[in-house]
Amino acid sequence: MSGLLQAMGISASGMQAQTERLRHVSENIANVDTPGYRRKIVSFEEIVSGGERTGKVRTGPVELGRGELSRIYDPAHPLANAAGYHDGSNVDLVVEIADAREAQRSYEANLKLFEQARQMSRSVLELLRR
């Protein structure tokens, strides 16, 4: 039973990490038109506590995308330089949507395993009935 509880905890950590990733994706999408905004990238890492791996996962430090900022021609813009250009963001909507899809897919996989562990522990308890 404790093994199953642990499995549920691990799946929950996976879902949490994917949620965090999705949060950053929505942040990027919301800021697609913000001048000078760099896309935020989260990577995952395994949680190690006391030198022992727990199997759980969490999001690592947030990094900024190193892609080049887009140049937007808009002479009327307050940030525009002498040539009439200003910096846009380096967010690519296609990449963000693909990332969101992947996060959703992983989230669902974790959810499915969580559900399965729950069903397994329920069928153990079922033995006690009758």
Partner: protein
């Protein structure tokens, strides 16, 4: 207390193994996007893993007791999978298959346990 019948102990071990495997699959799934993570699996279930063939007898209280076999199955790295560019070797599809296998092993073990329980009930004369 009654000694647990062997078949029930076996079913217990089998269910435990399935639950352990489920935990490992959950780990793989949770780390499906962790850079450098290598997928793991559990060695197949073998009856009597927790038993020692010829246990030492304790003739004096201060002596060492009988050896306890380890009950946790061996964890192996899954080989032969091409890693994705970030060094991760988890494939969601194969993990789903493993999860289904763990589930069916768990169900099987519980059915055996339940059947043994029913037999004991019948022996007690309570019917089913």
């Amino acid at each position: 207390m009654l000694d647990q019948p062997r078949i029930m102990r076996l079913a217990h071990e089998m269910a435990q193994h399935a639950a352990f495997r489920q935990g490992i699959v959950a780990q793989n799934m949770a780390n499906a996007d962790t850079p450098g993570y290598r997928a793991r699996d559990v060695a197949a279930f073998r009856a009597g893993l927790g038993e020692v063939a010829d246990p030492m007898r304790q003739t004096r209280r201060t002596h060492l007791g009988p050896m306890q076999g380890t009950n946790t199955p061996e964890i192996l790295f899954v080989a032969g999978i091409e890693a994705s560019p970030n060094g991760n070797t988890v494939l969601l599809e194969t993990e789903m298959v493993r999860a289904a296998a763990a589930r069916s092993q768990h169900d099987r073990a519980l059915s055996v346990y339940k059947a043994a329980l029913d037999m004991m009930r019948t022996a007690l004369g309570r019917g089913r």
